[in-house]
């Protein structure tokens, strides 16, 4: 029953590769790709920054960069991996440029008097995950966020990160171990 409002899929199912190539000249094709991949990009950014404002900002930046660079997508890997590679770089630049720890902000930010949204419902859990991911090695955190939040396979995450599938598998495995042993996430998980 949850609405998708303006983001319903209206076109027949076409593969990403085909759409990506069409998207060079056609705004609707890119919009279709956007609808398909918005959630994974947003989840990925949310996992890292832990707040709606920055996650939306980084999601916007990711898709704007993808739009500008769509002509460079050659289809040698999946579109999702290519896109998440952009998302990963945007996230990396964001953290490199931010000298302070990122404040965990409220989901309510859209304006004065506008009712809240459902993101607040999961804020606490997301915050915990986000903070935990920042306590482990960035490579491992990125591999985890790409696979769990970005929905990529290990092979695709490897494409996004420029690593082999085996390397990603190892990063994820060790990252999970880190989360268990070095962060408070274990307590969250055991609740």
């Amino acid at each position: 029953m949850t609405t998708t409002m303006d983001i319903q899929i209206q076109s027949p199912p076409l593969d990403d590769l085909q759409l990506a190539r069409t998207a060079r000249e056609d705004a609707n094709a890119f919009a279709e790709l956007y609808r398909r991949h918005l959630t994974r990009v947003y989840r990925y950014q949310m996992a890292h920054v832990g707040n709606v404002k920055d996650a939306e900002d980084l999601t916007s930046q990711t898709f704007m960069a993808a739009l500008e660079g769509i002509g460079s997508f050659r289809g040698s890997g999946s579109f999702g991996a290519w896109l998440m590679g952009i998302a990963s770089k945007k996230r990396a630049f964001f953290f490199r440029a931010h000298r302070f720890d990122i404040a965990i902000e409220s989901a309510r930010h859209v304006g004065d008097g506008v009712p809240t949204d459902k993101a607040a419902y999961q804020r606490m859990q997301t915050e915990a995950v986000s903070r935990a991911l920042r306590q482990i090695s960035p490579d491992r955190a990125d591999a985890i966020s790409l696979t769990f939040f970005g929905g990529l396979s290990n092979a695709e995450a490897g494409q996004a990160l420029g690593k082999s599938e085996a390397a990603v598998k190892m990063l994820v495995s060790r990252g999970l171990q880190d989360l268990r042993e070095r962060t408070s996430l274990r307590m969250e998980a055991e609740q």
Binding site: T3, G75, F93, S106, H109, G113, K118, Y121, L176
Partner: protein, 801 residues
Amino acid sequence: MNENQNNDIEKLLQNTADKITPNVMFAGRLENELKQAHKPRKSFQFPGLKNVLSVFAPAVALAAFTILIVIVIQKMQPDHKVAAPGVPTKVNPALPAPSLPRYNRYGMTMYLGAEFPKAPGTMKVYTVRNEEMATADSVRALAKQFKMNGEIYKLTGQLDTSGMLGSDTEYLVVDGNRQLHVRSDRYFMYIPDYVSWITDAQVLTQPSDGEESAIKEFMQTYGFTSGYKVEKIEASNYVAFALSPDGFPVRNEGFQVNGLRFGFNQNGISMMTASLLSYDETANMGIISAEDAFKKILDTNNKYGYMEDVQQSMYMMVDDEIVKPEDMVQWTRIRHLDETLAYNGWLSSTGKSVDGGEPFIMLDGYTVIGNVSDIPADMQSTYIEARGQFHEAGGVKTFALESWKTHDGNEEFIRGVIRREGDQFVFDSYVFDDSTDGKKYILQDVPADIPLPMDPAFLTGIARGDIFDWGTINNFGGGGGGGGGGGNMFYQINLSGTPVAFPTPIPPTPSPESAPGQTVEGLRGMLQINIYQQEDGTKLTNYLFIPNAGDDQQAFQGSYLLKGNLDDALDACHNRPIDVWGTIGGIEKGQTVLTVDRYEIPYPDLQFQLIGGTQENKTIDGQDVVLVTADDGVTYIVLDPYGGGAAQATPDMGKAPNPDGSGEAAPDDPNAGRKTFEALIIPDETLLGYPSMRVFNSVPEMADGTPVPMPFSNGEPSVFPGPPPPTAMTIEEIELVYFALDQRYPQYAYDGGQVLSDPFYAQPVWRFSGHYEDGSAFEILVQALKQEFLLPPPPTPTPEP
């Protein structure tokens, strides 16, 4: 390492991920921005403005409003102004924009509609004092200033408002309906009626005595009495500028200001946020003139020393139709008082107050009383099902709770049609996908002034069987609004007293404009037709002409906006060649105009073709080209669709591997490299001895060799919702102000993360502001300090791939 041990962590991560969903308002807005930012490949780019252009949208109300302000101020102004605190120069609204001096900036026409104020020789540079974070005692003092006597709580993100002041720890004072949130001596927020603030829509204020009087009374009442200047500012609400010690307004990035910002709703002032910097004078430095600052704006090679922001109006796109701010309507459900009801809402609680008082519990802004014993302290905002009664006694709004439980799911936000059926109001929800079957609901307490049938109607609330228990109804979907950043970063200030040499400027890139007055005779090129669906239902058609490649085979030489002797016959020539006779000259909509005397359609029957074939990259006569051998055995050379130069060779020869887009073709796959090409074969067009085809699109064939249908045809003109991207901007105001970064939100550069601005100083800037032709507001802040007081930028960061 035992991977099984990590199953619980994996489950937690997956569970968290599954519940993260982008806000539909954000999703819709970004999609619209992407559509507007999408340019067909090979059209002119405005390199420095890509981010800015992405957020353009109509802001008719704002533009009209600005003109109103301009008229008022214009009457008070002498002919020429010396820059002085708070006295900007502004455009003369009687002058039509085309008569104003105009300049070319990244291919966009910039009209100068304000005079350059005379600059004082020097301005101060202030060091911004450190922010003093709030303590219980400082909050108590501030509460006293606001005449509040309620409990004080320390928040760590529980309430919906938490974080609006940019930190995850802040203090809250509650006194009846009033709330005061405090981060520090600098940043705090006062809300006169919390319930009203979150339930009554914010209104677009107009410049009238009513708002200004209310602000002045507010400031008098609460002790903000000197050093302020009240003004209605662009893209926000009223602001009482907290002036610098020498009397200038102080601005932050992104249209934000230093001072008190006021929001209004139907009940008057709905909220006030404060940003009150304090300073120490650090230096007195020479500044450049406004005219020199303007030259920096026009310098396309200038990467640093200015910041640029665009603010769009609140608007929404619904079914490709623009909903303007003045047409947005929202109804908030008025709950029955003093009767027991089921209610779904967001519940949160604080810890005990700093003085040991009981936690403050809030349900959708209402103070919760009654059976609250099982509500934990410090409860994060949680969507619940409650049973109880709304009360209002002595003006204080409360919810007397009887019972509650966490709701298994989220608040719903659905779209459909409201209509009357007999004595009932019903709501037919839309079918979006397989998981959202259309359903008919009964609506209760529907306001009498809702127009019926209402289509579309956007509802928040929760379904209870056949009843949709709505909370809000509106006709636009979401909040809209927003803005975007552009420009670059400021140079750091050189306080050493010894000037540091800057790198030699790179010579400016030649303008793509052709020499005005040049005539063309029989110039062949491709016609591109773009149609824009206007908000009034009419369509605007732009005809762009892209000349063929020259002898050097440079594919794209630029494009022209065709004007003059055009007729309907052109409409059938989208993405097809035409020959043009006419004169080049002038700029319109940011494009060089080619005024057509006459044209010819060399191939009136030319049609797009879908051609199956195999592609290969080759080097012929030292040139990398792409060849396609079609199924009929003919080998074509692939040309760029626009301009006609040889298409760039592409490394990828993969076919569409699987329906989900994953995987790649194996090198020995017999179908590898086979594609379907959407192409235009222009008779007699050859290159390097091969017949040519202009490829507009190509898709690999599926794993089983079957062609993939083309989703869109390039043979038909594109229709874009909304107005065309703006191609002209008018500077309407030039003023000298101070600038200080909002240190709550650390700055990061768009070009790779290098932060160049120094956040610890308030420095003079020339502020150029105005509107794009679509009504979007812009501001460009140019560092005013002379170069000898600045430090050169560090080496250019590694560009993003």
